[in-house]
Structure formats: C-alpha cells, structure tokens
Amino acid sequence: MMNYLYSLLISTVLLITPPTNEAVDTITALTNARIVTITQGTIENGTIVIENGIIVQLGTDVDVPDDAQVIDLAGLTVYPGMIDSGTQMGLVEVGSLSETRDASELGDLSPQMKSLTAVNPNGVAIPVTRVNGVTTVLTVPSGGMLPGQAALINLHGYTPQQMYAGFEGVVLQFPSTGRRGQFDSRSEEDVQKAATEAIKKLNDTWDSAELHHRIDSTYQAHPEDGRRPEYVPSMEALKGVVRGEQSLIIQVNTAKDILAALDWIKARRMNNVIFSGLAEGWRVADKIAEAGVPCLVGPVLSIPTRASDRFDKAYKNAALMHEAGIKIAIRSNDTANARNLPYHVGFAAAYGLPVDAALRAVTINPAEIFGVDDRLGSLEVGKEATFFVADGDPFETSTTILHVFIAGFQVPMESRHTRLYEEFLNRNPGLEKHNGQ
C-alpha cells in the first residue's frame, strides 16, 4: 500500500507537472499581484521576478525579462510561505501504526538523535500540508527528557538534505513538576519526589555537558598536550547548546513549569533558548516577556488547561502573550492536520491577536527565531522564492490557495486529498462500465 502511494506520488511529481519542476533554471515573473511582503508593507499591482529560486525583483516598477515565464495574478494575493513551528512532519505517517512512527527514541538522553535524518520526503502529509500554504515546518522528535534535535524543513525535496531549511535545535522536555492530568492518581509525595528527581537529573546532565564542553575546548585548543577526550555522543550533541551556538527548544506548558524553566535558564545563564508549547503562557506572560524568551505557541484550536478557565483561553493565549511583548510564533503541534495551521492563526486573530501580528507569527517571527530570516519569512529581494498565492485571506477556510512556490519550485497543487476528491467525484463511469457488461 505504502509502495503504491509512494510510486503514485513520485509519478505525480515527475510526470504530471514537468514544466513547473524545471522552474529553478528558468525565470518566472508573477504579475499584477497584491503582494503582502510582511516586512515592507503590502504592494498593490506588483510583480515578483524569480531566478534560480531567488526573488530577484519585487515591486510595481519591475523590468520583466523577455524570456520569463509570466503568470498573471490579477485579483490574487501573494503571501510568504507559512512556517509551522511544531509538527512531526515526515517522522510520523500513520499515528496508530508503530511501523510508520519514527519520532520517538527510548530513554531520557538522546540529544544526538537528529530528526532530519529520519524525515521521509515522501510522507503523504507533506503535499497535503503545502497545498494549504504551509511551506516550511519545524519537525520535532518526542520521547524522554532530551529526545533529540528538531529540524526546520521545506515541504519539497527528494531527500532530507534537499528539504533542510537551515535550522536544527536541541529539544528539552522540561521536567513536569505537577500532575500529568486528572487521571494521574499518584500521591502528593510521589509527584513531588518524581519532580525533584527529574530536576536533579536535568541539572546533573547539564553539569556533565558543561564539563564535556570544557574538556573538549581545552583539548581542541591544544590537541598535542593531552589525549583525546572520551567520545560521549549525547554530550557531544549538547556541546553546541552549552556553547551558545545552537538553540535549545524547551517544551513547557504549565505556568509553574514555565517559571521553573525561566529560573533554570537564568541560573544556567542561557540566552539561546526558545520555549515551545506554553498552554498556560498567558498566566506568566509578563515573566516570559521580561526574560525575552521567544515562544512557539500552540495549538490554538484547543481546550483550556483548567476547569476554571474560560472556554476561549486557548484561543486567546497567543494574543495575551503578544500583548505582553513576547515574540511569538504559532504552531499546530500536529502532523496529519498541520494543514490547519492557518485556521489556528485565524482563531488567534479572531480572539484578539492583530492580523498583522498573526501573519508575522507564521512568517517572519519563526524565521527570525530560527535564524533563517535571511532566506525565509517575508517577500524581499534576495530571499528564497517561497510563497503562496491565494484568492483571499488565507486564515479564512473559504479561501483557495492557487499556487505554491518553494525555493522557486512551483509545487503541484496535488495531494492525497485532491486525488481522493477526483476519484470519488467521478465514480459514475466506473459503475456504468460495470452495469454495461
């Protein structure tokens, strides 16, 4: 079945849309478009010229080369591709089939596991997601305390390396100090003890990582003076974070844990930290803002964390955090339905997040947080041609996405959804043939 799907997908990409796939070598001009650049305002009746996958010209006063393939976008709007800051795209195919789940490693200490190596470029959810305007996602491993490294990937490419969008971050599931849920029937003392032990383990691990970094640095400076340090893959993987060269993505949700995490990074003097999750971020938003930690918030389409909360707390969370002055990006925390990212953002906007801030939360903000804003996140000359064309507001479910470009490739607007739609929309001929015999 999977093989069938793969071959179908590959044949789709290879055979059905040959001209657009060569777009990277050709010059494409998109004309008469409304261009939402994010960083430089909105341009009416503008033109974008793409060459070698890069935006080379953008504006109203553009010189379209003669050999350019021209696409007229009259009445349509161009947006930068949306970035989903939390999915398991390419790691999980069918959640209930363990053979297709590749996101979780056993044990608490596996920061050396890179999700990029496990990404399946042929995942069925990839085309499903990108045709909705989500061009880039952070794909995040799950599991124990340090489950591995998340990778930012573009939703186009035949190998993980082709998909790689330039950011990898070490993930830390911050030890949860409270109960795991209302079905957690552990005694107060056990909860407390488990939390203390988990924090101790985290601190011990970090002490080890810092020692490893110190030994390694000394050795690298003067390799001739000493023998080579022990090779410890997990500590090797934490080296970048300890040295402040790589980001640490801390997954944390409850207010108490967020405060504990803030204290922890302060005690460790870390400033290369990104928070992710933050279901109760609004409760301690001022503290997060004060610490200046950027946050990957979501899912928005969710229920409140406490029975006493108003029904719309999850919808308002992003707005409240934005108001407090936190730099936020929005994540779906989904895989099969990561295509719903625009509707998560739409709900956040409907419940108080200004529309421009909402747009930034899935474009330039994540690009800046992941340090790829030189290539992604807005429509500017010199950036990658990663954008989509819509006939309306992409946060409205009624809007149709007409074209998607990823690094200059015009991706086919096909997915398992469209194929199933086509197949079952036109069942009649098949039935007629059967009846006719």
Binding site: G107, D108, L109, T177, E188, Q192, A195, T196, E197, I199, K200, K201, N203, D204, T205, S208, A209, L211, H212, I215, T218, Y219, D225, G226, R227, P229, E230, V232, S234, M235, K256, L259, A260, D263, W264, K266, A267
Partner: protein
Amino acid sequence: MRIHRRVITAVLSCAILLGTSVRAQVNNGESIPDVTRTIALTNARVVQAPGQVQERTNVIIRDGLITTIAPDAAIPFDALEIPADSFIVYAGFIDGLSHTGIPEPKEQPNRERPDDPAFPPPEQAGIQPQQDVRSLLDPEDKRITAMREAGFTAAHVVPRGRMLPGVGAIILLAGENANEMVYRGDTALYAQLAGARRMYPGTDMAVIAKLRQLYREAARRQKVEQLYAENPAGLERPQYDPVLYAMFPVLDGDRPVFFNTESVLDLHRVLAVQQELGFPMVLTGLTQSFDAIDKLKLANLPLLLTLELPKEPEDSEEEQSPDFTEVALTDAAVELPQIEAPDYDADFRVSSLVDVAAEKENLEARREIAYKAHVGNAHMLESEGLTFGFSSGSVKPGELLGNVRKMIKEGLSEDAALAALTTTPAQILGLTSSMGTVEEGKLGNLVVTKGSIFDEKGEIRYVFVDGRKYEIEPPRKSSGGDPDADVNPAGTWSLTISTPDGDIGGTLTIEGSADSWSGSLTVEIQPGAVPVEYIVLSGNELTFSFDAPGVGTVESSLILDSESLSGSFDVPGLGVATVSGTRTSDPEMSNQHHN
C-alpha cells in the same frame, strides 16, 4: 547453631537503635554517561592507610586507577574537579564475606523429599562445592547499591546455601553486567555448619562427619586419578564426580576454606575438624569469639569478624521507678561484681511475688552483659593482639557503619576499625597490591566523607569504584520531633539559614489552623515571597516545601517550640542547610490580624 543464635537474639530482643539513617537510592551515575574518566579530588585530607594521613593533598584518578597523590599535583585538563577541602578520603572498604550481588531465592529450592533421606543427592543436601558464584551474580541486586552507599567498593561474595554452598569471587560493587563486576574468581570454598532440612546431614554433628567423609573420599579419589593418569591399563575407570573434584584444590592447599561460625561451640568444632584434616582456613562470623580468645591465638588463622550485632537492650521504665530502688536496697543477692556492666546474679532467686521487679532487673542486667560482650568483641580481639577483617554477612548495609561506631564506643581503636575495613581484608583475600590503601597505582576505589567516617555525624558524600564516581545524597536529617507535642505554628518567624556562603536571613509566615495551613517565605537575597506548600504539622515537626528560584523544590523540616524553631532546608544539588529561627508574632496576633 541457628537455634542458638535465635536464643541470643531473644534474650537481647529490645528496641532497635539505628546508628545510621537509611539513605535514599540515588540513580545518577547509572544513566547520565560519564564524560571523562579523569577525576581530581583537590585539597583533601587523605587517610592513605590506617594511621597514615596526608593533609591538603590532591588525588588524581585516571582510567580507573589512582595515578597521583601529591599536595601540588597538577590537575589534568580533562579532569572532573571535585573540591575536597572539607572532605576526607579513605580507601574503599572491602567486605570480607557476604552474599552481595546474589539475590535471595524467592522460593526455597529443593523442597522435595529425597527418596532416601539418609542418602540424598548432594545438591539437595546442600553440598555444592563445584558451584561458582560468578554464575549467580546479578548486577541488579539492590544490596550492591546499598553496600556502595555504605562505603564498600569491593566484596568477597559466596553463594547462598547450606553446608558447602560453593566457591567465592571478589567483585567490585559497580558494573552494568556480572562480568564487569568480577575482579577475581575462584577465591575460596565457603563452608558453614548448616545442616540440610530433614535429610542427612541434618545436624552439626552430621555436617562435620560428612565433611570428614568428603575430604577423605576426595583424597582417595585424587590418588586413583593420579594412578589412572600415569597408566590407565588394567585399571577401572574412575567416574567423574564434580563434588569430589571440586575438593581437590582444597586438598592441595590452593583453595582456602572460609568457614563460618556463630556460637563459640561452632568455633571449637570447626577448629577441631580443621586441625584434624589440615586444610587452609579463614574463620568467619566469630560472633562469640570473645569466649575463645586463647584458642584463636593458638590457631593463628586469618579472621573475618561479622559486623552483625545483637539488638541493643532498651532501658526499661521500671529502672527509673521508685519501686526499683526499694527492691534493690532490700535485695542482698545483687552483688556479683562486673566491670562497667550492670550487676547480674547467675543464681538469683526470689522468695515471693513481691520481688518480681528484682527478677526482671536481674534479667536486664544479664541482657546488658551479653550485649556488651558482643559489641566489645572487636575491641577484645584487638587488645589480645588478634588481627581481623570485617565482613558484612547478612547485616543490612544501612546498619554497617553504625555497628562499627558502636564497636569503637566499646573501645575498638579507629585505626583497627579502618584496618578491618580496608587493609586486613585486602591481605586475607590477597588484594594488597591493588586495593586496601590510597596509593598510586591502586584501583580507584575510594570513600569520600564529610567528617570522620567513624564519627556519628560523619557522612559519606562520594564513593568511587574502579574510578567511577557515585554521589551519595546526604541523608535526610531525622528531625527528632516529638509526635505528641502540641504547638501552633501560626504566626511569623524570623529565620537564619546557614549556608556554605554565609548566613541568609528570612521570614516565614504560617497562617490558618490544623489541616489547612498556608504560608509564605521571604528570603533576603530574593525579592518577593514564595508560597510554602504541602505544609504538614505532626507533633512539633513542621514539614513543607517551596520552590526556590533557580534550584528547584526545597524540602524543609523544622522542629518548633512556642518561641523558637530549628531544622533544615534540603536544597537540591546544594545539600542541607541548617535553619534556626525565633517567633516574631504569635498565633493570636496572627489570627486576629487574619480575622
């Protein structure tokens, strides 16, 4: 013999007084990988061997070995540095004999009765000298961790069983699998006067007879084997017999027998059979060796004294009651002189029911004498010039150090105690070149303590086995609270928290009433109050926890009286800070304020 021990225990059965507290198991070190195999303990007081102390010295461990001990030793670039200014470094303890690493079988094996109880198969009769302990080791056995936390780094272990349970091995008390733990195999044959259940040999007498028989049969078999090996022609084939073959190294004098004795009678019997047969022997157990000192001197054998002590007799309340004085005064019989022990009359008689108290007192005196004899056993051996090592036997690891401290209280010198834990067992087990002292080139087996290990307040902080670091969490201070006291914690308290960086002031506010306490804590170095959670008042002991920014959840335990408090904060990663304080506002005021 078993029965005899039970009698002693019964005579001495009283309250338990634990010298050491049970420590929580620490699971670090197991799962977080070590990033270096080089460790530097700096500026430590190093007890290299009993009576041989170096002050402010660096100890460098590399690749499992002690490489350098010198005051100015350079710290290697890849070292994990542990500032040990306030620590004392001892050689890792060596357990002379125990079953550490061999979990107790869940069910008693060999429950079936043999066809002929007079001639049972050897395994059923507990005769398995061919059994190798290395095949029985389980690295998951909880006793390994517990022994390590008591300071033991290596152990001589033997299989469990009855008369001849098998052959022992030296293990290091660390390792992921059994092979990693084994330091040396084939050390000794373990023997005890433990009869088989409801079959031959069932009694001490039968065990000794069976041993004698085995020994002689093995000697004969060895001769036959030799003859057959020289020239088999015309000779009947000698049949393979694992039990007899396992005795050959003992006959050759290559494998010593570690013979366990508990009562003094055991001791006499074992010495008699050893002198008769002449095998190499190490005496272990020696619970009542104080009654056989002269014989032990004469035998001149290596000795391993068990760390097992009888329960301390509790002071009975009658002792303080006025009746006691009355009876004691009128009782002429209580006069048998004893050094520092209570008076006890072996032939004490009472004339009437009125004197029951005196009778009771006489029994308690007897208990006291027996107890002192056991606790003073080690001191007696030392003062008689007999050298001995310690073995943990079946004592709970948490009680081992406490028992050593009790022996020291009864006169055992600290040097002799340390020797019995380190150098002497190393000598008896043939390990002097690799273990037993803190010396360059020896295994990185160390115990690092805060305060003298033999002091009541001494705490083990680190144990190193084979160069691997194990951090031992300081025990939760048992508060010594009074469960029946009645105090009201409500009000505000001014606190002084003693930390290594100096004293920190703070204010604790407790409100509410029984079962619904609430409170908050302010510490002068941190702005704002933190809520105090999980407040429990039991008697005069108030326990609670709070989240200290940057360090985690601090567990607190305080003993209150009406105007002052004292106790501790257990800060994760930093240790226990002592806390003292005084009341600044009383419950009434606080309640009024509250209302």
